[in-house]
């Protein structure tokens, strides 16, 4: 390779335009559908295409979901391996919610769905939040396949139950099999296996 210093993206005037998509590896697309649509409120924008899996032309199929009101979407990609470990926090995906009321609504949905969560804040050094004072909070939880997610609210009334600083990520774990038992098989059709 030449000794010339490679040019930067800026020097070449190369820029990323916007998010197109991102994905999470999931073991069953109907489990993912229930979680990302029924619990988090997403809308399916493209159904999975299984046709080429059997012929080796694909290694998976994906369910595309509009999860937020901005450019880009999530796809739940059928890949029954490569899920994160229970204590692995990164990578993770964080999304903004409009206000504290919306975050409370999302917490209620997680409770109803029996999804463990951690509500946490990181305060500036020396800062001591008063009850009711608005603080930025992060709601940490996982999808049924263990993919780490976060909902971020910039101004949420502080209360003692909010964890300040670090937390134990393993508290978010819950068994995928219970979700799988509650839905129809969302893996490859039998003729494609």
């Amino acid at each position: 390779m030449a000794d010339t210093q490679p040019r930067s993206a800026a020097e070449r005037d190369l820029r990323l335009l916007h998010l197109d998509h991102f994905n999470v590896p999931v073991r069953d697309l109907n489990v993912a559908r229930r979680f990302y649509c029924d619990v988090l409120g997403g809308a399916v924008i493209a159904e999975p295409e299984w046709r080429r899996l059997g012929g080796g032309r694909r290694r998976g199929a994906h369910l595309d979901v509009q999860l937020f009101n901005d450019q880009g979407h999530i796809n739940a990609f059928w890949q029954p391996w490569g899920q994160p470990a229970p204590d692995q926090v990164f990578p993770h995906r964080a999304f903004r919610v409009s206000d504290a009321a919306r975050l409370d609504e999302m917490i209620g949905r997680l409770v109803d769905a029996q999804v463990p969560y951690i509500l946490a804040t990181v305060l500036a050094t020396g800062q001591d939040a008063q009850e009711g004072a608005p603080v930025p909070v992060s709601l940490y939880f996982r999808d049924p396949d263990g993919n780490q997610l976060e909902l971020r609210c910039e101004a949420y009334p502080f209360r003692p139950a909010i964890k300040v600083g670090v937390f134990d990520p393993t508290l978010q774990y819950y068994p995928w099999r219970d979700w799988r038992a509650a839905v129809e098989d969302g893996g490859p059709p039998s003729e494609e296996r």
Partner: protein
């Protein structure tokens, strides 16, 4: 006709992406990659991400609506043949060839693929994907929806085994002096 870019059909409950966090071994090396190679801008160099402890991190603005936070974490790398999770960013079709050349100049292997649903007659604009890894093995994808069909890309599938390269050997020797220097 190539498949259409799926578009939102209604308003949903979450507003937008706040950030994506990616595990990296070496913040200086990761910063070099995400600034000089991908064109991001450092927003916060002394960021902290919480988990079981506080992780040193660098927050980057990558494009409209997306910040990426590079977080020091010593484990959690993808298997070589796992293509998920990955993060896909849109680029103009007119820039695809230059991106491929750019990645090659930085000694980052890439694979360009036209999926089966997007096969078109030569010269007709269609969807193309360019896949590559950051130095820590996080998979990135560039997507153009208006790239002229040609015979220079894989069709249907690409070989994910062509993408890995050694973290310890990157960046190329001609760029080593840039490590630790702001872009």
């Amino acid at each position: 006709m190539p498949r259409p870019n799926p578009q939102p059909t209604k308003s949903v409950d979450l507003d937008s992406v706040d950030r994506f966090t990616l595990p990296v071994r070496d913040l200086a090396k990761a910063e070099l990659f995400y600034t000089r190679v991908l064109g991001g801008d450092v927003v916060q160099r002394d960021a902290v991400e919480a988990g079981e402890r506080e992780h040193p991190a660098i927050r980057m603005h990558m494009c409209d609506g997306v910040d990426v936070v590079l977080v020091q974490q010593w484990y959690g790398w993808l298997p070589v043949d796992s293509t998920n999770p990955h993060w896909g960013f849109a680029i103009p079709g007119a820039d695809v060839d230059m991106w491929v050349e750019h990645l090659k100049e930085w000694e980052v292997p890439s694979a360009m693929v036209f999926r089966d649903d997007d096969q078109e007659a030569m010269g007709v604009p269609t969807r193309v994907e360019v896949h590559f890894l950051d130095p820590d093995g996080n998979q990135i994808e560039l997507v153009a929806w208006d790239y002229p069909m040609n015979d220079r890309a894989s069709r249907g599938q690409y070989d994910s085994w062509v993408l890995p390269y050694k973290h310890r050997d990157w960046p190329p020797s001609s760029a080593r002096h840039l490590l630790g220097k702001p872009a």
